[in-house]
Amino acid sequence: MIEIKHLAKTFSNHEIFSDINLTVNTGEILAIIGPSGSGKSTLLRCLNLLEQPDQGEVTIGDSHFTAPHISKKQAVKIRQESTMVFQQFNLFRQKTAWQNVAENLVTVKKIAKTAAKERALVELDKVGLSEYANFYPGQLSGGQKQRVAIARSLATDSKILLLDEPTSALDSELVGEVLTTLKSVVEEHPDYTVILVSHELEFVKEVATQVIFFEDGQIVESGQPKDVLSHPQETQTQRFLSRFTQQTIAQ
């Protein structure tokens, strides 16, 4: 479960958001949609303390923190509660696919290398990449890289998945394979709590249990995907969604 209370974040005079309140129950898949620069990613990164929130309280899994006073030790523990998939994949380029997946197991969980490798190969197989276990990220396509990153996240056994625009950096023909993988992941793990920041509205409609529309650091609208996406109540949401439909038609 994730519970956010009065979360605030400012980047040197530029306020990203000042009072975010949000609850995501275990097993829910929350999708955050909204224009670029609205603070969606920052919100996600605050949960993983990649950004230090200025104020607020967060309960994530079994951990709880009150910003801004978070010790380094506490931060490490909080980060282990969740796992993140990044827009730019962020694979370790000097490590092979299986080493990327096994890194958390070896370093954080202190599992023996052979056992970690076995587990890594199983996770890679789940995303359809076991044959590429010995490949370095530089030799993989964008879609393959992101699937390795998903396998890396799954190997951590964290039950909270933070997906930060997982397909935004991909060529359009590679988006499908990553979405297929993500879909099978959430279907296989109904107990996972997921926050997904994405512009893939069709995908959001398909997998999300809850959607919020985010603009200028505010939660403008929230509800069931079919309500928010098909019958938006707020004018801002309507405007955002109509831009999307126009784009789709133009394409």
Binding site: L49, S82, R93, Q94, E103, L121, Y132, Y136, T156, T180
Partner: protein, 266 residues
């Protein structure tokens, strides 16, 4: 015409001089290790902008890079005893300067010199490491130390290695100045042999051959290391899952899980 050059002597000198190779290599390796560790500390302090220490190290780096190594050796040779006397005076101890081997003066000078030169190089290399990879490591729950050891330093090494290699080679050659601080290494021994036989040219030619050989060997080693740490740029082969599993451990190959990825999203 008298024999102007004793060719035979050039080669007979080499084994005599090589007896002092361990001293030369000792200075090189010790000051390189300590120098690199110190350089990493300086780089990290300056990157994290730790007050007071940053300014101190900036000053130190500027000073060391702005003065000749020969002068630094003399400063160490005369400075360490003075420091020791102050120490004795304020702490009421009675350490004797004569008990400190000359090796220490040389080692201190070279280590500080190496640290100063390499710290800038290391700082640049650390800055070149992809921020995203560090964030990924953080989000995996790795501690600062683990990230430094497993991600940042290996990646920075790829960038820093060519410069570090050059610095290592100039350190090997730089040790030939150690005699000014009273250490008998290869060059000092050469001077002793030359003083005895008056065959200066031959001795220095022998020394030149030895240093040249050392440099060539070092270059080969650096090239091998470079190849090793750049392995991630080489192409790998496709390996079937079960082959990979049986190659990696003694476990029996697993039954392939049901393919769940075939459903296509509309």
């Amino acid at each position: 015409m008298p024999k102007l050059i004793d060719f035979k002597m050039i080669f007979t000198n080499i084994p005599l001089l090589l007896q002092y190779l361990p001293i030369t290599l000792g200075i090189v390796i010790l000051s390189m290790i300590v120098g690199l560790a110190f350089a990493l500390v300086i780089a990290l302090v300056r990157l994290n902008k730790i007050p007071v220490l940053t300014q101190f190290f900036t000053l130190l780096v500027s000073f060391v890079r702005g003065t000749p190594i020969l002068v630094q050796l003399y400063l160490s040779y005369y400075g360490v005893p003075i420091a020791l006397k102050y120490w004795n005076y304020y702490n009421h101890t009675n350490y004797n300067i004569n008990n400190i081997p000359a090796f220490i003066f040389v080692f201190v000078a070279f280590a500080v010199n190496e640290a100063a030169y390499n710290s800038e190089n290391i700082r640049g290399a650390l800055l070149s490491v992809d921020r995203g990879e560090i964030e990924a490591a953080q989000s995996l729950g790795m501690t600062g130390g683990q990230i430094l050891r497993r991600i940042t330093i290996p990646e920075a090494l790829v960038v820093a290695l060519p410069t570090l290699g050059n610095q290592f080679i100039s350190l090997i050659k730089g040790t030939s100045l150690a005699f000014v601080a009273g250490v008998i290494e290869m060059t000092a021994e050469g001077q002793i042999i030359a003083g005895r036989s008056f065959r200066y040219f031959e001795v220095y030619l022998s020394l030149a051959i030895i240093y040249w050989g050392l440099t060539v060997i070092t270059e080969i080693i650096i090239r091998l290391v470079e190849k090793r740490i750049n392995k991630f740029r080489t192409v790998q082969k496709v390996v079937k899952l079960n082959d990979a599993l049986s190659a990696s451990s003694e476990v029996t190959p697993i039954k392939r899980p049901v393919q769940v990825l075939e459903t296509e999203i509309k």
